[in-house]
């Protein structure tokens, strides 16, 4: 990671998203943005603020509550040469759009043998806390990873939010763009000019020889916080952000695991048939003829998400739990360590600012 260039400023994730969209809309008239409430005064937590004013209601518009048809509309417009960005304030609502996403968007390039392409971006947000609960907090990226023909991206910071969103808009394929609401107000150094973060390249965020820790979406931030706690006690975790889940840069992860011999994957999702299962399976497949590898997955508890804070806290991985899991893997004989709760809480506060 380089130090900030002169044209970089601290920018929040939400502003980075907005800036990325605005820049692409300025340079490419085919790009338009739509979805429920994108043009109201709340502007999807601010991530679409000012866009309708700048680009007008033909290129930035709200819709009826009709996720199924609106997804079809996006696909049809994409087939006609436009580059729609369809925004969902909750990833959970994508369940209403699955037929279009899985049966049409993912398959059109293939089943029509290249006669059409579907360049579109599905922005969707994972919610968390303050009682979002069962239907407003699901990270469902694994469902999209499962089906060939969709790209899936889950940036963990403002820099990647801008760069990967721009890459997604420019991509000729349907891209499921996974945002996390708790990341919206985190900031990082982000270039002013337009730039693309290539889809399919992971980032090694911290170097370490004791364990490879892969963190997905917001969990990357939690892993970095765990990394700090672990540093205090002399454990060096190599924290990797895959950024893009399809295509997945498994090589970077495998190379790290071959060195560290240990892999912990922390996902913002359930583990069963999740991204964490896939990463573990692929690493094992790729690395099985070398030295033995220890693996572990963390994610949502295998339950629906409860609303009450006491249960919700137990539902999610957090820096303390992650640090503890790493410790148990790296120092299996030193039983019973758990991080000082105060230190863990402090780590919680630390902002992750890049730069990259």
């Amino acid at each position: 990671m380089s130090s900030p260039a002169t044209n970089q400023r601290l920018l929040t994730y939400v502003d980075a998203l907005r800036e990325g969209i605005a820049q692409e809309m300025r340079s490419d008239p085919r790009v338009f943005l739509f979805g429920l409430d994108v043009d109201d005064h709340k502007a999807i937590q601010g991530s679409t603020r000012g866009l309708v004013q700048e680009f007008g209601p033909e290129r930035v518009f709200g819709t009826p509550l009709s996720e199924d048809a609106m997804t079809g509309v996006a696909i049809g417009a994409a087939m006609a040469g436009m580059r729609p960005i369809h925004v969902h304030i909750r990833m959970d609502f994508l369940m209403l759009a699955m037929n279009q996403l899985i049966n049409i968007a993912a398959k059109s390039s293939y089943m029509y043998d290249g006669q059409v392409k579907v360049p579109m971006v599905i922005r969707s947000m994972i919610g968390k806390s303050w009682g979002q609960g069962a239907q407003h907090s699901q990270g469902l990226h694994a469902m999209f990873m499962h089906v060939p023909g969709l790209k899936v991206v889950a940036p963990s910071n403002a820099y990647d939010a801008k760069g990967a969103l721009i890459a997604a808009i420019r991509d000729d394929n349907p891209v499921i763009f996974v945002e996390h609401r708790l990341l919206y107000y985190t900031d990082a150094f982000v270039p002013e000019e337009s730039f693309a973060v290539p889809l399919g390249k992971a980032r090694v965020c911290t170097n370490g020889d004791d364990i490879t820790v892969v963190g997905i979406s917001n969990m990357l931030v939690e892993c970095l916080r765990a990394h700090e706690i672990l540093s205090d006690i002399g454990i060096a975790a190599e924290v990797i952000d895959p950024i893009s889940l399809v295509p997945l840069d498994i090589d970077t992860i495998v190379a790290s695991v071959k060195r560290t011999g240990r892999l912990l994957v922390v996902d913002n999702a359930w583990t069963n048939c999740g991204a964490s299962a896939e990463i573990v399976a692929r690493v094992i497949e790729c690395a099985q003829n070398g030295k033995p590898i220890q693996v572990r997955r963390m994610g949502y508890a295998p339950t629906t998400c409860p609303t009450t804070p006491v249960l919700e806290q137990a539902f999610y991985p957090d820096p303390g739990k992650i640090a503890q899991a790493v410790h148990a893997m790296v120092r299996p004989d030193a039983n019973g360590w758990s991080p000082d709760p105060e230190r863990a809480k402090l780590a919680y506060q630390v902002k992750f600012r890049g730069p990259f």
Partner: protein, 324 residues
């Protein structure tokens, strides 16, 4: 607007209806009051101003009839008789809440009063109500189901699918659209190609009614008629109820300063506030009596919620599957 006088009703009816309206109004005002303390960690969608819809409809129901509320569901829950203590406890995330703190404001349920669980995904409970009605019909019951939903929910394809199926099978389900003009901040004019909802629903062979002024007595009367038809096996009905949400879409505050709607609209609706109106239909004494009973109940419910324990951590793992 002309409000129905409700000639068939007596003073006891007015008192009952007033009690229900007033309870909902006051309970939600208390929720709004408490909310900034962050003791309620649950997104609250208040029905303040819209109480008449839930109350008018539910007053025409028996206890064994069923309602399917939305995430904006405190009103329907209370109007159907859902317990106040467990409501507040649920908002507080306490073990004593209706859903043990797992559901929160958006997922109220009380099967002992036949309040079906609410959903935070718009429109999803409409077919559930239809399915419940199918089960009742198959069991030769004369119970009926009411599906509450907003104007926005009618834009979801599942609404059209549900109407067709309910009418095809002549199911005992009353569809109640609470048309408050907005889905979040987007007015109907930017979401509906036309304003001909009732006409559209009628093409399914479903009797339709439209109440433009929020008149609780008119709503009650129409619901009673629909319920009677349903109990006779004559199938579904539909009522579109125009109404007005006084507070912001989600959260405790007003939001007339946000520019998407005018305080004047609110003022027009305020004139016909049904809590006030029905309150005037009884003696000051009776009303004061009811009011003070309600205050006591609410204070008790809040105290109950505050003093209740949070769930034990191991409750995280219960009820993922039925029976464990």
């Amino acid at each position: 607007m002309a409000l129905a006088s409700g000639p068939a009703l007596g003073i006891a009816d007015f008192e009952r209806i007033y009690r229900s309206l007033r309870l909902i109004r006051r309970a939600e005002e208390e929720v709004a009051r408490i909310y900034p303390s962050d003791k309620i960690k649950s997104p609250v969608h208040l029905s303040i101003g819209q109480e008449a819809v839930s109350v008018g409809i539910c007053d025409a129901l028996r206890r064994d009839d069923v309602v399917a509320p939305t995430y904006r569901g405190h009103a329907a829950y209370l109007a159907k008789g859902g317990p106040l203590r467990e409501l507040f406890a649920e908002l507080y995330g306490k073990a004593t809440g209706v859903a043990g703190g797992k559901g929160g404001s958006m997922h109220l349920i009380d099967m002992s009063h036949n309040v079906l669980g609410a959903s935070a995904v718009v429109g999803t409970t409409i077919p559930l109500a239809v399915g419940y009605a199918l089960a009742l019909k198959r069991n030769k019951s004369d119970r009926v189901v009411v599906a509450f939903f907003g104007d926005g929910a009618t834009e979801e394809g599942v609404f059209a699918e549900s109407l067709n199926f309910a009418s095809l099978h002549k199911l005992p389900v009353l569809f109640v659209c609470e048309n408050n003009y907005y889905a979040i901040h987007t007015p109907i004019t930017r979401r509906w190609a036309t304003n001909r909802l009732c006409e559209r629903v009628a093409t399914y062979g479903i009797p339709v009614h439209r109440v433009e002024n929020g008149d609780v007595l008119m709503l009650r009367e129409l619901a009673a008629g629909a319920v009677a038809r349903m109990r006779r096996g004559e199938g579904p009905s539909f009522i579109e109820c125009l109404t007005y949400r006084w507070r912001e879409h989600v959260g405790p505050n007003e939001d007339y300063d946000q520019g998407y709607r005018a305080r004047d609209d609110f003022n027009r609706w305020l004139k016909d506030d049904q809590v006030e109106r029905i309150g005037r239909m009884m003696s000051d004494e009776s009303r004061a009596q009811i009011d003070s009973e309600i205050e006591l109940d609410i204070a008790d419910a809040i105290e109950f919620a505050e003093s209740s324990p949070f769930p034990e951590i191991d409750k995280l793992y219960t009820n993922v599957f039925a029976g464990n």
